[in-house]
């Protein structure tokens, strides 16, 4: 009925469509497994169950909360409503300081205790991550 060329083109289009759908599916699937959610101390406080997934916590480093010894850095992240204890063994970035914004990545042990695997550095001392801003309610 149709010419060979039309059939070929149709086949090509179907293949193309299938590939695209497969690709998108593949990407979205692994996206689900690999995204890291951001939460503020208040959001964590209102959690019902603690998941074992990696998350980010952001807020201010509480004044006079940083304690350093030979292999650990402990501090408290606060959003001035709730706070959470963070423990971290690794290099802290230079812009990490008491009373400054911070984003920590890691795992929740319970609602008050967070074990960080990474403290994120920022380039600019005036810059506050949008999430932290929102968590602190700054406009």
């Amino acid at each position: 009925m149709y010419g060979k060329k039309v059939k070929l083109r149709f086949l090509f289009l179907v293949l193309l469509l299938a590939t695209v759908i497969l690709t998108v599916f593949l990407i979205l699937q692994s996206l689900k497994e690999n995204v890291i959610y951001f939460q503020s101390p208040s959001e964590i406080n209102s959690l019902i169950e603690i998941e074992s997934k990696k998350i980010r916590v952001g807020g201010m480093v509480k004044e006079k909360s940083v304690v350093i010894n030979s292999n650990k850095v402990n501090f408290i992240i606060t959003d001035f409503k709730n706070e959470i204890n963070v423990t971290y063994s690794g290099a802290v970035p230079n812009l990490f300081a008491e009373g400054k914004g911070v984003v920590a990545e890691g795992f929740l042990k319970d609602k008050n205790y967070f074990s960080a695997t990474k403290i994120l550095a920022k380039h600019d001392e005036n810059y506050m991550p949008p999430e932290v801003k929102e968590a602190l309610g700054v406009k």
Binding site: I68, V73, E131
Partner: protein, 625 residues
């Protein structure tokens, strides 16, 4: 003071010249004469001159620390070394856009100079499309990001440049990267013009190839410079973090690389015309998106600098206008009139190029989705997420295996139709690669199957390209060198990733720290003063298991303006391994936070990108016989 006014009025004159140029070009378009009106080139040159004058007056303001200029006030300081005063010109938003404009006007001028043998109407249309982009950027600079705003009363001292930008690699990174980004604008304008004139042909491919190569080389080197900077300045010891700001530079690179290969097919086989146009449009759109995403503050990135949303909206609207314009031109004018359409033999060089093109499009979509999805989710559900490296590794690495194999085999095939001949050498190389990989992997503790496959594929490409050199079949040296560079890049990234090791600890002065592969001794610290920072230099001795001692001296700098602390890593580079140490000081504490890394084959990553660039450069200067 004067520099300010000169700079500002030059910009306005430059904009007026855009309109003048458009008018003259449109008049000239319908005239019967075959040659381009000489005045057009002169006017383009004048426009370029005005932008240069404007740019240099900004540089002058920076050198003189003229704080009546708001941009200078915000980004400079009298105690800053001269070199960084100058590089501060484009280290900020306003100045970097002026640099965009400079490159835009420079490229269209060079294009008109170098395209004498091309049809007149095609050249005029290219000029017109380019002027639309240029006008857009002029308006953007003048309305939202004027680099010549006055400040009164004149401040005595500036706010200073972000110290981590005070670095030689980052001083030249933006201009080089922009040459690549903006180079894509010429490809964009030229391919739209060629579509409108129905001129997408083999001759056109030959002529546009040089421009594609130029922007590809600069983009590659620009990305590498940024990566080198991140490696030693950010103190994480990595060179690529899959951070959104890095991703937006990788995306145009991927589509430009795909375009580069398609142009080669178009040049030989006069086919894939629509695809070439689509890729040209994509590349430039992605470059613009990059500027938009970085400058609008939409991206949540570790590289984000404080910025202004109003600018983002302008670029976004402008971007939409350009996309609609280009798609309009494409759908209205594009005729698929080539003879060889759908005439691909399954075993031929163009088929393998096409397959790898699809792979590159796949990589591009992975990076694109990973970068844009968090923004999208934030807008629709205000959930904050970030996408980490595992996502990219998982989705990209497996597909690198067939990608590398096609890269090795493709150039060995003939155009149009190739036969499966008994090529023992290829089979032997393939077996050697697998055996070699097997013995390497056996001694390492990694995921055996996956890494064996990936490494074998990389070695296979490595040896096949190496063999090309040795058998002196250098008829296509630029391609061979670039592919060789790419195999080296993958190999060094893989070995670097597998073999790197890291120790993080908190240490006091005089302490020793033992770890699996040796010992770190924190000898002492010294203080030093420079014009714009004070520094604490620490002296470390790293002793490995054989007793070899390496001395490393990382620094902590306290900059005076803006008041900011940075860590300067100390790196000892050898061909086999980088030893990297960086330290931090937490305020009011006697402990220094020390991070020591051993990074094997680090230097080969940079060397291989240079090889890629070298391959491109050879391709640029070689005329095909």
């Amino acid at each position: 003071m004067f520099a300010n006014q000169i700079g500002y009025y030059s910009l306005i004159l430059g904009l007026l010249f855009s309109f003048l140029l458009c008018t003259i070009a449109i008049q000239d378009f319908n005239k019967v004469n075959k040659k381009l009106n000489e005045n057009i080139i002169i006017l383009t040159f004048l426009q370029l001159t005005f932008v240069i004058v404007s740019f240099f007056s900004l540089i002058l303001s920076f050198i003189n620390s003229d704080f009546s200029n708001e941009t200078v006030f915000n980004n400079s300081h009298t105690t800053k070394p001269l070199f960084y005063k100058i590089s501060g010109t484009w280290g900020n938003h306003e100045g970097s856009l002026l640099l965009w404009l400079l490159v835009l006007t420079l490229f269209i001028f060079l294009f008109l100079l170098k395209s004498n043998s091309q049809p007149k109407k095609y050249r005029i249309l290219t000029l017109l499309f380019q002027q639309i982009i240029i006008i857009g950027f002029f308006l953007f600079v003048l309305t939202t990001s004027n680099p010549f705003n006055y400040l009164f009363p004149i401040p005595k001292e500036g706010l200073g440049l972000n110290p981590i930008l005070q670095d030689p690699a980052l001083a030249i990174h933006p201009p080089i990267l922009y040459l690549g980004y903006v180079g894509a604008s010429i490809i964009f304008s030229a391919s739209l013009a060629a579509v409108a004139q129905n001129y997408i042909s083999q001759e056109w491919a030959q002529h546009i190839k040089k421009w594609v190569l130029i922007s590809w080389i600069f983009l590659s080197l620009g990305i590498m410079l940024g990566s080198i900077w991140a490696y030693y300045e950010l103190g994480w010891g990595g060179f690529w973090f899959w951070d959104p700001v890095e991703n937006v530079s990788l995306m145009p690179w991927l589509s430009l690389t795909a375009l580069l290969h398609c142009i080669a097919v178009l040049e030989r086989r006069a086919t894939l015309t629509s695809w070439v146009v689509v890729l040209s449009i994509t590349t430039f759109t992605l470059s613009m998106c990059g500027t938009f995403l970085v400058r609008s503050g939409l991206l949540n990135s570790v590289h984000t600098f404080a910025n202004d949303p109003a600018r983002g909206i302008f670029i976004l609207i402008f971007l939409f206008v350009l996309i609609i314009l280009s798609l309009g031109v494409f759908f209205i004018f594009h005729k698929d009139n080539n003879v060889n359409q759908n005439n691909f033999f399954w075993l031929s060089r163009e088929t393998s190029i096409l397959i790898n093109n699809w792979f590159m499009m796949y990589f591009l979509s992975v990076v694109l989705i990973g970068t844009v999805y968090p923004i999208f989710l934030d807008v629709i559900s205000s959930e904050k997420i970030s996408v980490g490296p595992p996502f990219y590794h998982k989705l990209i690495a497996p597909f690198l295996i067939p990608f590398l194999l096609f890269m090795a085999l493709g150039p060995r095939l003939k155009w149009i139709k190739s036969k499966i001949e008994k090529k023992y050498s290829i089979i032997i190389i393939f077996i050697i690669s697998i055996i070699l990989t097997f013995f390497i992997i056996k001694n390492l503790t990694t995921n055996i199957l996956f890494y064996t496959l990936l490494l074998s594929a990389a070695f296979f490409l490595f040896f096949t390209t190496l063999k090309e050199f040795l058998t002196k079949k250098l008829n296509n040296s630029s391609q061979t060198i670039a592919h060789f560079g790419f195999s080296l890049l993958i190999l060094s990234i893989l070995f670097n990733g597998i073999l790197s090791s890291e120790v993080i600890t908190n240490m006091k002065i005089g302490e020793k720290f033992k770890f699996g592969k040796g010992e770190i001794f924190f000898k002492k610290i010294e203080e030093r003063r420079e014009s714009n920072f004070n520094s604490i230099i620490a002296f470390f001795e790293i002793k490995d298991l054989e007793g070899n001692v390496v001395e490393l001296e990382p620094e902590i700098r306290v900059y005076n303006q803006p008041l900011m602390v940075t860590s300067e890593a100390d790196i000892k580079t050898t061909l086999l391994e980088d030893k990297f140490i960086v330290m931090n000081l937490v305020k009011g504490n006697e402990y220094f936070n020390v991070r020591y890394q051993s990074k094997p084959f680090m230097v080969w990553i940079w060397i291989s990108v240079f090889l890629l660039g070298l391959g491109g450069t050879i391709g640029l200067f070689k005329t095909r016989t």
